[in-house]
Symmetry: C2
């Protein structure tokens, strides 16, 4: 008999050689039906692997990440079989599960695979799946394994096997297919009910651009057809909401080959939107006691030697800027903190004057490889809504709470109500990794945890995730498509005050080190706007959207009245414009819908006569004809319902 | 007899050998008393130089720049004599007139001259002046001249003479003193009534740091003692108003050795002031149809190769930024125009959509040698209140007028009422120097001149001062101390639209080139704020000043009331603070005066009882006790009187 410890801590006895599936069945038939993968003592095993020792067992279903991983990895075997059959001579290499689905890298030789082949691949893969073939692992000697692939002329698998130790090599079979594999499969192919080939792309063998280019076939699979349908809808929706697409359509930003990749140019509507966001935060920050500062976008190399950034990131950053006549070196600033430290250092402070809260919409530059750039989410230049708070250790508690209040206000005003927080603290087993006294760390970690509790955040604590210079709290938001994004951060820093020799005079008349808090509720203006575009699909909150209303005169003779309406709206600070192009009202409405304009104000004979406007909401709702004043009230009320004052 | 043409065009006959002074006397005794220098056929002559040919003669008095030049150059001879007498063995080199006064570069050998020697030098120089010694020029052979200075061991004069041609060498004598000199003196030393030695500084012989360091003795002189007194007061006033001094006292900006020279860090009060200025201009620009854009602070080298800036300025600029992994080169942006051209180029335009007016508070970086940096007026990074207008050639006229309107509004709102404009046009003799068609140049020059006339500007036209790419108009303002500053500029550009291949579709359905206007009413935020500091001595217009009022509770028990007052003021958007330090009201008033706060609001027993505030204006005026509401009205009225809406 062996003793099996289950995740809830219960220990049960089973006869030696029992499989995870046997154990699942012993717990409940329902569980057994759903179990598709298992972990035994930190090793992923098959559901049919016989267990011969005491140990801890976790059973996974489709709802677990590990379950999905086994599901998708198994699906890649099925697709590989289909590919081998449909493209004779294709050489298989590797086929792992990824975050969403799986891929298989294949050398198709002289053949090529394109979108038009996808239906045939899907059809054959599904046929195989329906055969309910068990996945069966079996050990193979190194010589035998090499012989198999040498005879097929598959130099990739040969290379993989050459790097493995004899005695550890396993293959996995199902139906007529066999593949070199470490394991981690679902019980049988029949569990896979839906398979979709998503795309093909070039990929170098082992990611090395000097090696052969293979074809990477991406796919995804599900235990229910309905789930695939939903996933494809989500993909389509994400494509429609892609901020690069919307940014272009709504004329928010552009890129220029001449200016350079990853360096966004903000077009008038985008620049105005950005400014509204900045003004919104500035106003709240002013109330919260922040002071704005302005600092240059470069700094002498020495500044970053002092801060430690040069030693750490110098080689991978934009390289130093030299001057023509003098022996000077400057760096594009990758962050604003060293500049703010120098501002703090420009005069002495007494404890009575703290906290000092310096804020700046500071544009920073960080080198990213061109292949990694992506719209506004991965850029080479971006503007942080940055601030640095310099306070006494005793003020940390209060300051942290205030920063959380501000962050919650920002998230709430922008329609993010689904978020979590992560508190990153020290690894207590590695105290030497951290700068600053144990006492201060305890103070800071307690301050963060207490603040998170008091503010009723939904938060988790991650040990060992703190930076070497201090603990932190990050906000993660879930967007309208259920995707997670890391947003604003609040970090305690004991390092920079030390490196810049920052001081304040305490009540004891001695000099002390202030603590520094880095914080940015948006994170970066670029990334935040990208996220907001994808979250709202371009239907920004009314207070933020570029044009709140478009006035559509039914014919030319109503243009005068339209201008009168526009004038009233402008006097009430409503952003509107008149569409007096020579087009039908129907076409103008369709285009205003495309342009995400929240209100279409149609003015014709009747409206002019009764001094009203006929209101149509984005999406089609007809609000009837009302006076301009009533419309202003409607807009004001709607704005006030989302945009509370801080 | 010779024919002499006078500046008014009249031609008079004089006997050969007549001197300019003879001619002055023939015109009027009064003129003769004031004439101190003359120009004959484009050559500066002495007032006693005999004229032997027909020619044009201009007579100069102290009121002419050329008159001052002769006066100060002659004064340098007088001071040189005094130095030679007081510091035996001192070797004289050169002693020219400069913009304000003169200097003489002297090798004092082992001796040294410092401030404590100034009174003795001034005393002796004035004694010499009072001797009414005539300045007398006489020719000297090269051999004789070399012999004189060789015998004195003065290698500097020897070097100067060696480079002169025999037969052209002259000396000037007065009293016991003689000096190598080309001429340009006043009649006699007696005209100089006041002499002041201002400072001494090191200066390399011929400005070459590899040559010997000499002592430069700076001085100034006047025909009346009163004028010297006034000048010294002005100097003192300028010192008090030095923006570097005021910027520090008012906590507006600072510099950091670590960040780098010439890179200002804006402190909270300065950043807020800057933002108010920017908001002021943004508001006016919005009304004037400008759209804000945001562009990065770097651009690929290719961008500046396209614009032509790299070829022209590349070597003398901050050097290219390389990237670690890819073969890329970026430059810090020295101007915003190439980025704005790329924004224009991001989509096609029809003539109906023009003009497009893109504005940006764009921070640019230009390398200046460290020795040339000066406070905020000569920096390495600064923010331009930049905009680029893209219009059709036919719109140029109208657009230029609109830009002048905006510029006049800006100058007027900031208290500059003493300004001139300079219109820079082509050199018609060198048509090849310019890009763009003759037709377009004529159109543009006429547009500028007509606009300047129509807007009733006090302007001059300078031929040949236009840039190669287009004509321009510059504003020069005179500050409170009578000093001239070049401010905003409006430039027409035919070059960049060509280089960036900018187009619009005309009414003929063909593609045409737009014209571009560069304009910046402030010029740069840094330089403008420096100028405003020196012009106002820190007493900024009420709408702009950091703190409009400070509330001074007479004792601790009135602090509650002070807070009530502060609250009312804040609700009325008046920037105020409470000075509740444990100091006397007298000291607080003195410090508020130093801090340039326009209003001091004293609150004590009586004020609290009657719900009033006792108002003291900056400068000391007592406005008595009034209600907060009346004070708000007072402030509002005063602001509205300077800050009209555009």
């Amino acid at each position: 008999m062996i003793k099996i410890t289950l995740p809830d801590g219960t220990i049960k006895e089973y006869s030696k050689g029992s499989t995870p599936m046997d154990i699942a069945k012993s717990i409940s038939e329902g569980l057994a039906r759903n179990v598709i993968s298992a972990k035994f003592n930190d090793t992923i095993v098959e559901t049919v692997t016989p267990l011969n020792d005491d140990g801890a067992l976790t059973l996974y279903t489709w709802n677990d990440d590990e379950g999905k991983k086994a599901f998708w990895h198994s699906s890649s075997h099925i697709v590989a079989q289909a590919l081998e059959e449909l493209f004779p001579g294709a050489k298989l290499t590797i086929g792992p599960a990824i975050e969403n689905g799986f891929y298989y890298d294949v050398d198709f030789g002289a053949q090529s695979v394109s979108e038009k082949d996808f239906p045939a691949i899907e059809k054959r893969a599904l046929e195989i799946a329906r055969g309910k073939h068990d996945f069966k692992m079996h050990p193979v000697s190194k010589a035998e394994a090499l012989e198999k692939y040498r005879s097929q002329g598959n130099e990739f698998k040969v290379e993989l096997i050459e790097n493995l130790e004899d005695g550890t090599i396993t293959f996995c079979d199902h139906d007529t297919f066999t593949d070199l594999c470490r394991g981690g499969h679902i019980p049988n192919t029949g569990i896979v009910k839906a398979i979709k080939i998503l795309s093909v792309a070039g990929a170098y063998w082992r990611g090395d651009e000097n090696k052969k280019q293979l074809t990477r076939v991406y796919g995804i699979s599900f235990p229910k057809q309905k789930e695939l349908t939903e996933y494809l809808q989500l993909l389509e929706e994400a494509k429609q909401r892609d901020h690069r697409k919307l940014g272009k359509e709504l004329e928010l930003f552009t890129f220029s080959q001449k200016v350079g990749q990853g360096l966004p140019l903000w077009l008038p509507k985008g620049a105005a939107l950005r400014e509204r966001l900045e003004d919104f935060l500035k106003k709240a920050q002013k109330k919260a006691g922040y002071e704005m500062v302005v600092t240059p976008h470069i700094g002498q190399k020495e500044l970053y030697v002092t801060s430690g950034h040069y030693a750490k990131y110098g080689e991978d950053s934009f390289q130093p800027i030299h001057t023509p006549k003098e022996d000077e070196e400057f760096l594009l600033k990758p962050m604003n903190c060293p500049h703010h430290c120098e501002i703090y250092n420009s005069r002495p402070f007494s404890y009575r004057e703290l906290p000092k809260r310096y804020a700046e919409f500071g544009t920073v530059y960080r080198y990213e490889q061109s292949g990694e750039l992506h719209g506004l989410t991965r850029v080479r230049g971006f503007t942080q809504d940055d601030a640095h708070i310099f306070c006494t250790p005793d003020q940390l508690d209060e300051e942290f709470k205030k920063v959380i209040d501000l962050s919650l206000y920002v998230l709430g005003s922008l329609g993010f109500d689904n978020f979590k927080a992560q508190v990153s603290v020290r690894d207590l087993d590695n105290p030497d990794k951290y700068i600053g006294s144990v006492e201060n760390w305890e103070k800071a970690e307690n301050a963060i945890i207490n603040a998170a509790k008091e503010k009723e955040l939904d938060f988790i604590i991650e040990s060992g995730e703190a930076a070497f210079y201090g603990p932190k709290l990050d906000f993660m938001v879930k967007d309208a498509l259920g995707r997670n994004w890391q947003l604003g951060t609040i970090q305690v820093d004991y390092n920079l005050p030390e490196r810049f020799d920052l001081t304040y005079k305490g009540s004891d008349n001695e000099l002390h080190r202030p603590v520094m808090i880095h914080r940015a509720p948006f994170g970066s203006m670029e990334r935040f706007i990208a996220l907001l575009l994808e979250h709202t699909g371009g239907n920004f909150p009314l207070w933020l959207i570029p044009e709140q209303a478009v006035i559509l005169p039914v014919s030319e003779k109503h243009e005068k009245y339209a201008e009168k309406v526009l004038n009233s709206l402008e006097n009430n600070e409503i952003r509107a414009l008149i569409d007096n192009r020579n087009e039908t009202v129907g076409k103008k409405i369709r285009e205003a819908e495309m342009g995400k304009t929240p209100f279409m104000l149609i003015v014709g004979e009747s409206e002019e006569e009764h001094n009203t406007i006929a209101i149509r909401r984005h999406g089609g709702e007809d609000l009837g004809s009302i006076s301009v004043k009533d419309f202003v009230d409607l807009v004001t009320k709607e704005i006030n319902s989302t945009l509370k004052s801080f």
